[in-house]
């Protein structure tokens, strides 16, 4: 390598790093700035420049957030319960359906699968009004069931992904289970599920992220505090205490943190899953 070309290589590497770092700073800045504000007292936030460092950092906002006035614990509990129930339902019923589509022959299979795929096109903004109407008629407004039922029975998306995966399982394995006298449920539990762990883990993460972040449906179907989820609680805190940014930023930090931790723990998995699945 000649010196000029080596120099050019070094410059281009340097420029790449510079751009990557600028991108990272732009990405992280909002998170860091909101955390900075969340650990300031309201007095300091009002009296000093907005970007001044917290002196000293305080957890008072978080204590207040979980205190009587703002009572942010119930929304976390409700959200966690909703996510847990949806997660179990979606994984279980999606595995059932995907196995039927991938491994069983039955009349109507292709038509039904096509129907499932077509429903991927249905936008949430379209179903929200009829679903509200149906749930109101059933007297299920503002209940736990209203939050979980629409998502509980599996998602066409998860079924599609699992079906692709199940089709790759060697037929001999399933035949062997059958010869051993295992019924469908036992085959699923002892053969199919253990083999499919990676895709199931991926789906589990996708489901948790999607439903932890869910907003529009909980916003319309719940009222008041009883079944308020974290996103709805955050925005209602913001509109109620507009301008009290220290407490609002403490709330956004609390709302974001669990997913960030989950993401950092499983980041390899999540990143791979996004690119194989393109989930939304």
């Amino acid at each position: 390598m000649t010196t000029p070309s080596r120099l050019r290589g070094a410059v281009s590497t340097g420029a790449t790093y510079l751009l990557l770092v600028v991108g990272a700073l732009l990405t992280l800045a909002p998170f860091l700035l909101s955390l900075l504000t969340a650990v300031k007292t309201p007095g300091q936030f009002a009296a000093q420049p907005v970007l001044a460092p917290p002196a000293p950092p305080t957890v008072a906002n978080f204590a207040e957030l979980f205190g009587e006035r703002y009572d942010f614990v119930p929304p976390i509990v409700v959200t966690a319960q909703v996510v847990a129930v949806i997660l179990i339902g979606q994984l279980l019923f999606s595995v059932f359906a995907a196995y039927a589509f991938a491994r069983l022959r039955f009349p109507g299979r292709d038509a039904l699968f096509w129907l499932y795929l077509a429903t991927l096109m249905v936008p949430q903004a379209v179903t929200i009004i009829p679903l509200y109407s149906v749930f109101a008629d059933l007297g299920l407004r503002n209940t736990f069931w209203a939050l979980v039922l629409p998502q509980l029975f599996g998602s066409p998306y998860a079924i599609f992904l699992l079906r692709e995966y199940f089709r790759t399982i060697p037929g001999d394995l399933l035949d062997a289970a059958k010869l051993d006298g295992a019924g469908t449920l036992r085959t699923l539990r002892h053969v199919v599920v253990p083999i499919s762990r990676p895709i199931l883990a991926t789906l589990a993460i996708i489901t948790v992220v999607t439903h932890w972040n869910s907003f529009l449906w909980p916003l319309v179907i719940t009222t008041g505090r009883q079944w308020q989820v974290l996103t709805v609680a955050t925005v209602s805190l913001q509109s109620q205490f507009n301008g009290n940014w220290t407490i609002v930023m403490a709330a956004t930090t609390v709302a974001i943190l669990p997913l960030l931790v989950l993401f950092l723990l499983f980041q390899r998995h999540v990143i791979r899953s996004i690119t194989i699945t393109g989930f939304h």
Partner: protein, 289 residues
């Protein structure tokens, strides 16, 4: 044997079939029926025929929301695609630490758009927000009718760039290095190689990113709701999903909201089919032979 399979299959399918029918297919039929009725969320429903359709056609706000959404999509899609591609090219140079940058870039995408909207609402606040403090100026990012929509679009782009970049990274990895080396041997420069070799080979990825991007930005709600409630200053950020929500749950004109929902459904179905057609017609480059 065959009939046992059938029974087993339908037993396994029963729960998801119920879910799909009750929560995805039935609502489409119900919303069409609701479009012909007047309802205020509480009282009785009355059949009014096409009155709602006429009312929506005469109310300029729905047309405006379609326009707002189109402008929003027209800002967000090119910006996030170009920035995502640039980020992917930087990430794909195989430099040390690329994996860490990749994780950082995806962070916003994992978080709730609603919550990020609240965070950005503070950052863009006129007097005590972080951005104006940094700039030393007092700009009404979200209250100025000329700035509100570009600001909301910028926040959306910020949220999605890392996600878009991931797909381009995957697409770039799928390009065999021999193809790129051949271009270099033929005397092509870096820009030429990118334009004549890399970009055409990225076409499938590009289409995927564009199709999913257009469909999801057309339905944007959460972040817009958090940043600029009630359609923003003079309704300049009143996107379609928001218009439907406000019409149904604030104005309680549910029938008219249902009409808008039907229009949105038809529009998105048309966009999806058109894109699919276009996608099918374009040749993709098969490198396996």
């Amino acid at each position: 044997m065959r009939s046992r399979d059938t029974r087993t299959a339908y037993l396994l399918l029963a729960p998801s079939l119920f879910g799909v029918a009750a929560f995805l297919v039935l609502p489409i039929l119900v919303v069409m029926w609701m479009a012909l009725q007047r309802w205020d969320l509480i009282g009785p429903r009355t059949f009014v025929g096409l009155d709602n359709v006429v009312a929506v056609a005469q109310d300029g706000r729905f047309a405006r929301s379609l326009l707002v959404t189109a402008v929003f999509v027209a800002i967000v899609i090119p910006a996030q695609t170009v920035l995502g591609l640039v980020a992917a090219l930087l990430l794909n140079r195989g430099l040390r630490g690329s994996a860490v940058f990749r994780v950082v870039y995806v962070l916003p995408w994992i978080c709730a758009p609603l919550v990020l909207g609240v965070v950005w609402r503070w950052i863009l606040a006129p007097t005590d927000g972080a951005l104006n403090a940094l700039l030393g100026r007092r700009i009404e990012w979200l209250a100025d009718p000329a700035l509100a929509l570009p600001s909301v679009a910028a926040v959306t782009v910020w949220t999605q760039v890392g996600y878009v970049a991931l797909f381009f990274v995957a697409g770039l990895r799928a390009i065999p290095s021999t193809v790129l080396e051949a271009a270099l041997l033929d005397g092509a420069g870096a820009w030429q190689t990118f334009r004549l070799v890399t970009l055409p080979l990225l076409r499938p990825t590009l289409f995927f990113v564009l199709v999913t991007g257009v469909i999801s930005s057309f339905q944007v709600f959460d972040s817009v709701y958090a940043l600029t409630p009630n359609g923003g200053p003079q309704g300049v950020t009143d996107v379609v999903a928001g218009r439907i929500y406000y019409e149904a749950f604030e104005s309680r004109a549910v029938g008219q909201a249902a009409v808008m929902a039907v229009v949105l459904f038809v529009l998105l179905a048309a966009i999806t089919l058109a894109q699919q057609r276009w996608f099918a017609r374009r040749t993709t480059y098969d490198l396996s032979t």
